[in-house]
């Protein structure tokens, strides 16, 4: 069943700035949906519109089948976790979590029960009497999550809840929130600018840019079939490599000294129907070193020769950073001895994993697999 539905939702500010444009989105009950995009793309605005903290200037918003465009935040049956925790500094952890329940006139016993249960889930039993300023960042964020849990809302909204935490804690909290989602069987709408967070947490991900939802899909579909160059470059780390060029004969050619990739017949016939200028995309992990004895797949063809400018030893693998005529590229190749300065390497691209985009519009050109 649909829990949250946005139809043509938009936000235009008084000064004419359009923060969100024509957003269609539906969150299924029990789903974990992530809104991701670079800062300023409108993802937080969209979330705040669902919360009722920001007015909706176009379109309709339904929560639990009810039209809530003009309903006050407190009557939308939602709870929200903020980036900077937004705990009430003058209240104890217990009172922070109980605040919403008290306002809703829950019985004292019921409040105690719910807060105690949430505290157990989140491991906060020992600090219920503390005030927020006595807590660490991780504890504060747990309290903020606890404050949302006790309300047992229809939808949980998260606004970049982990970005104030250090890297290690972030990974841990990521798993905790994910586990919480399964335990509570809750519907969650989660905003982040971190595509790794999005990929690891979301059932589905909506990638936003400049107020527009570019693609809404499962993590793997986003990764394998990005609808345009922006999504392709945003999802994945390190980012996809792009080569601007055109189809010449049966090969993609980047230009003088650049990549030359001989293509399959299917790829050639699909590209030939296009406008001419083509962007070839290949992920760093689909690049192989020629003749290094690494088990390159059958589809890998010698494509480019580069002189790496930076070599990152990751232990298990090596990141080769280089530049080609139309931009930088990164290859994630098998562990190898360190290169001599100025030494160049031949790289092969896995033909089965190539992505093609229109050179003008950036839209994906399907090439039959």
């Amino acid at each position: 069943m649909e829990c949250v539905r946005l139809d043509g939702v938009g936000k235009t500010y008084d000064n004419g700035f359009v923060a969100v444009r024509d957003a269609d989105l539906s969150v299924e009950e029990g789903e974990f949906l992530v809104l991701v995009g670079p800062s300023g793309c409108g993802k937080s605005t969209l979330l705040r519109m669902v919360a009722g903290l920001e007015s909706i200037t176009e379109g309709t918003l339904h929560i639990g089948g009810r039209l809530v465009n003009t309903v006050a935040p407190k009557d939308r049956d939602i709870a929200m976790v903020f980036q900077n925790y937004a705990l009430y500094p003058h209240l104890t952890v217990f009172d922070n979590m109980a605040f919403g329940l008290k306002l809703r006139k829950h019985a004292k016993e019921d409040i105690r029960e719910r807060v105690t249960e949430a505290a157990q889930i989140l491991g906060l039993e020992d600090i219920l009497a503390s005030r927020p300023k006595e807590l660490s960042g991780g504890q504060r964020q747990r309290v903020a999550v606890g404050r949302a849990i006790v309300r047992q809302p229809k939808v949980f909204l998260f606004d970049e809840p982990l970005s104030n935490l250090d890297a290690k804690l972030r990974v841990q909290m990521r798993a905790e929130i994910r586990a919480l989602h399964q335990r509570l069987d809750a519907t969650m709408l989660y905003v982040t600018h971190d595509q790794v967070e999005a990929m690891t947490m979301g059932d589905r991900i909506a990638v936003m840019r400049a107020g527009v939802i570019e693609q809404l899909d499962t993590p793997l579909n986003l990764y394998d079939f990005p609808v345009n160059r922006f999504v392709a470059g945003f999802i994945g780390s390190p980012a996809m490599n792009f080569f601007e060029g055109s189809l010449v004969g049966s090969s993609f050619r980047e230009g003088e000294g650049g990549a030359v990739v001989s293509l399959t017949e299917a790829q050639v016939s699909n590209l030939a129907a296009g406008s001419g200028s083509v962007v070839l995309g290949v992920r760093p992990e689909d690049v192989y070193e020629v003749g290094a004895g690494a088990a390159a797949p059958a589809g890998a063809v010698r494509s480019v020769t580069v002189a790496p400018t930076l070599i990152e030893q990751m232990g298990s693998e090596v990141m080769l950073h280089a530049s080609t005529p139309t931009g930088p590229m990164v290859a994630r190749v098998a562990r190898r001895p360190v290169l001599e300065p100025g030494e160049s390497v031949d790289l092969a691209f896995d033909r089965a994993k190539l992505h093609f985009f229109d050179g003008v519009t950036g839209v994906r050109i399907p090439t039959g697999g």
């Binding site: 935040p73 929200m80 903020f82 925790y85 705990l87 009430y88 500094p89 919403g100 306002l103």
Partner: protein, 269 residues
């Protein structure tokens, strides 16, 4: 050596500032004949000056009048002033900045300019010779709004949003979230309003003729300058001390908050 000089200079400064006040307080305990020289300690301690004050004028009644006026004015300024300040600091509405600038502008206008129009209005409303006439013109205070606004602006907006989602309306946010986090600013605004109101002489002199409704500074002024004390210094000084007492008390009680607020802009979450 350098340090000693600094201490010496500072001590001299302290004496210059403190001596007149200390002298005044001690002089009220001297017999009338002894007042007039610069010596500090009385040869005989006496409460005669105070007895004369209480005998000659209804100063207790004036004190209560002042207290009622100050209490109502402070309560009003804190409630309505903080609501205004909250709206100016944290709510979004058309013309907000214009209103804020207009409010700042009213602070530049001297009270004297308002005196005649205000007096005419109070007379028209029939509020002369009543506490209402002393209270209503001061129920709002731009300085207090400014102090409160500057403090409220520093509160993280997310906390207020969290409260909205938790179920608060704006008034409840103001009183259950914003107030507890802005105590130093509230105290400062309250003290400034109190001192200004307590010391106000001109306005009561205009609207109050009936001794029953006179405020303390008005009564003390009429008593000392207006001839009620019959040129005796003792009762005049005693009345002045009584007038200054509440101010000193308020300052002593709230000193910590007052300094905290002047030293920092507010509380952070």
């Amino acid at each position: 050596m350098r340090k000693a000089l600094i201490y010496l200079a500072l001590s001299a400064g302290a004496v210059v500032f403190a001596y007149p006040f200390v002298w005044m307080v001690l002089a009220t305990f001297k017999p009338e004949a002894e007042i007039g020289n610069l010596s500090l300690l009385p040869s005989v301690w006496t409460l005669e000056s105070y007895r004369l004050v209480f005998e000659t004028i209804p100063i207790v009644r004036a004190f209560l009048n002042s207290l009622v006026v100050a209490a109502v004015v402070i309560a009003s300024v804190l409630v309505f002033g903080s609501a205004t300040a909250y709206s100016l600091a944290k709510l979004r509405w058309k013309g907000r900045d214009t209103v804020f600038n207009l409010m700042l502008f009213t602070m530049m206008v001297p009270f004297m300019v308002m005196l005649i129009p205000l007096y005419t209005m109070i007379v028209e409303f029939g509020w002369t010779d009543s506490l209402i006439g002393l209270i209503v013109p001061f129920m709002m205070n731009a300085t207090a709004v400014l102090i409160l606004r500057q403090s409220f602006v520093t509160l993280p907006t997310d906390i207020l949003d969290a409260a909205r989602i938790d179920g608060c309306g704006e008034w409840r946010i103001l009183f259950t979230i914003v107030w507890p986090l802005s105590i130093p600013a509230l105290v400062t605004a309250g003290i400034i309003v109190f001192i200004g109101n307590w010391n106000e002489v001109l306005w009561p002199l205009m609207v109050i003729r009936n001794e029953d409704w006179m405020t303390m500074p008005q009564m003390v002024a009429l008593f000392t300058v207006g001839g009620g004390a019959q040129a005796r210094l003792g009762p005049q000084l005693a009345a002045a001390v009584l007038l200054a007492l509440p101010i000193a008390a308020v300052y002593l009680v709230f000193q910590r908050h007052f300094i905290a607020s002047l030293a920092s802009t507010g509380v952070k979450g």
